[in-house]
Symmetry: C2
Subunit: 343 residues, 2 copies
DNA sequence: TGGCTTCATCATAGCGCTACGATTTACGAA
DNA sequence: TTCGTAAATCGTAGCGCTATGATGAAGCCA
C-alpha cells in the first residue's frame, strides 16, 4: 500500500533545484554555471548568482562526485606533518590546490608501508582527483590498488627507479654525497654521519649511504656512522654527538641526517667546549627555520619542500584539466648546499 | 526514441551489487556488514568478506555520503601546519580519527577570517561529520554558516567567551600571566615581552596582554613589549633581542611569544656575550622538540597540543556515535610551566 | 501447539547532481 | 528570405549506496 511506503524526507534544505526555480533556469544550467561559468550567459549568470546568495545555497559535493565519478579532492599521504619537511610540502600544496577549490585530504603513514596501504584504500574510496604519496617504498598491494584505481598518482620527495605515475623530488644519495664532498674539500679527514630512525626513514638512510660511499672514496679519508632508533630531534642529536666523540675521539667533521640533529650537536659542542668549525665541522640537512640563526650559522643542504609542493600541485591541475601539455613524468627539483659558518 | 536515449555507462567496475551477488546476499546486507558488522550473521559475514576480497571491492564513499546525508570526513582548519603547534594537533587528530576510518580534510586559514570563511564554505559542501576551527575569532558569516550547517563544531587552542558548539584549549592571558609571575618570583624587575605577528596571531597577542598586565601589577616591576610583524622564527628572535637591548639596556628578563623566538634569543645572547640566566632570564612558549636540548635548557610553557587533538577527536567520535554522555561543551586542557635552566 | 519476540535479511525509493545528446534561439551569409 | 552554424539552455536517466519499514525464521514460554 502506498500509505505505508517509506517516504525518505529531503535532507538538504536548499538544493540546486530550488536555485534553478528562483533563477528561472533549469537545474542543468545552474550546474553548468558552477562548473563552467563561461558557458552560461551573463543574464542567466546574474540570476543564478542572486538566487544562490538569497537562498544561501551550499552545493553537495558528494552528489556531484557520485554523478561525475570523481571528486574535487586530493589525497595527500605523508609520514607526518610533525615533520617540517612534509608540513612545508602539504602547506604549499594546500595553498595551490585550494585556489582551484580542490580539497586536501590528509593521511599519516608514520613510515609504515602497511599503514600507507590502509590510507590508500581509504583514499580511493573518495574517488580522489589524485593521490599523493611520499617516497618510493610501497607495498605490492598499494601499487596494484593505485594502478587499478585509474587515478593520477604522484610520488614526492624522492627520485630513483620507475614511478607509479609521476614523481617530484631529488636523489637523496646525491645529498649525502654532496655533504661528503663539501667536508672533504674543507680538508676534513675523519668524517662521521649522525642519523636517527634510519630503519624506517629510508631517505635518511639513502643520504647516509651516499655520504659514506663518497667519503670513503676520497684518499686518506675515513667515514663512520653513529645511529639512534628514535625519531630525530635536538636531544637525540646531543646524545649522538656525545656517543660519536666517545667512540671516535679524533673526528673532525659530522654530517647530520637533518637539522634537528645538527641543532643538538651545536648545543652539545657548546656544553663540552668543542669549537665549531675549528675543532669540528658540522653540516646538516633541511635548512629549517632556525638553521641560519644558529651560533655558528649552520651549513646545511636545502631541499625545496615548497617547490615540491608547487610542482606537485601544478602536475595535478594539469592532469585534471588535461591541458594537453605532455607533463614530464619525473621532475628533479635538485637541492642546494648552503655554506654558512659551521663548516 | 529509446534507441537514441543516452546510456550512461557504469563508472565503477565493482560495486556493492557485485559483492552481494557473489556472496549470495542482498546489497542491503553488504551495506549493513560494512556499517554495522555485529548486525550480520557469521555465515553471511564470511561470505561477504570473501567476496570483497576476491572482487577487490572499494566502497564509494560519495554514494554512501549522499544516501546518508553525512560523510565520514572531518574538516580541520588551522592557520598552517608549518606551525608546530597545529601540526601536533592535526597529527594527533588524524591518528585518532583514522582509527575510526574518518578522513581528515585540511584547510589553512593563515590567520585570515576571510580565508577561514571560504574554507568553511568548502568544508560544508562535503557534509562533514564535524568542522574543527582554530581559535575563537570568526566572521559573522562563518558563525551563521556553522549554525545553519547542523554540524558539530569544535574551536581549538583557545578558551574565552561562548563557543559556537564545543571548545578545547586554554586561556592564553593566563599563559602570559604565568610567565610574568614566574619571572617576578625569580626576582626579575625589568621585564620585556618579545612577540611576532601579533596583529594576526591573536593568541600570541593575548599572551602578551596577560604578561604585561600581571608584570605591571607587581610592585617595583616594569614591563615593555618589542614586536615584529613577520612570522616568528629564530632569526626574528635574534633581531628582536638586539632591538630590545638597544631600547631597554637594563632589562633582566624576556618572555618570548614562542620557542622559535626564544631559540633566536639564546643564540643572539651567545653572540653578544650575554649570560643566560645570570644576566638575562629567558622564558618561551611551546616546549618545541628542541627546547630541552638548548644551551642553557629553555624554561618554557608547554601547551598540550597532543591532548587538544586527542580530546577533540574524542568529542567528535562521541557526538558521531551519540553515546549519550553529555560531553562537556568546553574542555580546559590548561598548560604546564617547565622550569629549566634559562630562567 | 500457538503466539509472541527477537534476530537476520531484504526491498526499494530516493539522496543531489552531472553528462551528454536534444532543443531552441540568434545571427550571419548567400 | 532562407539556410546553416554557433551559442545557450534543457531533459532526464542514472551514478552507488543507505534508511527504514517489511518479511521470514527461529526460539521460547505458556
Amino acid at each position: 500500500m502506498e500509505a505505508t511506503k517509506r517516504h525518505r524526507r529531503k535532507m538538504q534544505s536548499v538544493t540546486m533545484m530550488d536555485v534553478a526555480e528562483r533563477a528561472q533556469v533549469s537545474p542543468s544550467t545552474v550546474s553548468l554555471y558552477l562548473r563552467k561559468p563561461d558557458a552560461v550567459s551573463a543574464t542567466a549568470s546574474r540570476a543564478i548568482a542572486e538566487a544562490i546568495d538569497a537562498l544561501k545555497y551550499v552545493p553537495n559535493l558528494m552528489a556531484g562526485g557520485l554523478a561525475a565519478a570523481s571528486s574535487r579532492a586530493v589525497s595527500v599521504i605523508v609520514p607526518s606533518v610533525r615533520n617540517a619537511f612534509f608540513a612545508e610540502t602539504v602547506a604549499t600544496m594546500q595553498a595551490e590546490l585550494g585556489k582551484e577549490r580542490l580539497q586536501v585530504m590528509l593521511g599519516h603513514s608514520e613510515y609504515s608501508e602497511r599503514e600507507e596501504e590502509n590510507l590508500v584504500k581509504m583514499a580511493l574510496s573518495w574517488k580522489p582527483a589524485a593521490v599523493v604519496l611520499t617516497g618510493l617504498s610501497h607495498s605490492a598491494t598499494t601499487r596494484r590498488l593505485l594502478k587499478d584505481g585509474n587515478v593520477p598518482v604522484l610520488e614526492l620527495w624522492e627520485l630513483g627507479g620507475e614511478p607509479i605515475d609521476m614523481a617530484v623530488g631529488f636523489y637523496h644519495e646525491q645529498v649525502g654525497s654532496t655533504a661528503a664532498t663539501h667536508l672533504v674539500q674543507r680538508g676534513r679527514k675523519r668524517l662521521l654521519f649522525l642519523g636517527a630512525r634510519l630503519q624506517e626513514d629510508r631517505r635518511a638512510a639513502l643520504r647516509a649511504d651516499g655520504f659514506l660511499k663518497t667519503a670513503r672514496e676520497a684518499t686518506g679519508v675515513s667515514a663512520e656512522i653513529v645511529q639512534h632508533p628514535a625519531p630525530a630531534n635536538a636531544a637525540i642529536g646531543a646524545m649522538l654527538l656525545a656517543e660519536a666523540i666517545r667512540k671516535y675521539p679524533d673526528i673532525d667533521a659530522v654530517a647530520c641526517s637533518n637539522d634537528h640533529i645538527a641543532l643538538g650537536v651545536i648545543f652539545e659542542c657548546q656544553r663540552i667546549g668543542v669549537q665549531i668549525p675549528e675543532r669540528l665541522s658540522v653540516i646538516g640537512f633541511g635548512d629549517l627555520s632556525f638553521s641560519a640563526a644558529c651560533n655558528p650559522a649552520l651549513t646545511t643542504i636545502r631541499p625545496p619542500g615548497d617547490l615540491i609542493g608547487t610542482e606537485a600541485a601544478r602536475l595535478i591541475l594539469d592532469r585534471i584539466n588535461e591541458t594537453g601539455r605532455a607533463a614530464p613524468t619525473v621532475i628533479d627539483t635538485r637541492f642546494t648546499l648552503l655554506q654558512r659558518q659551521s663548516s
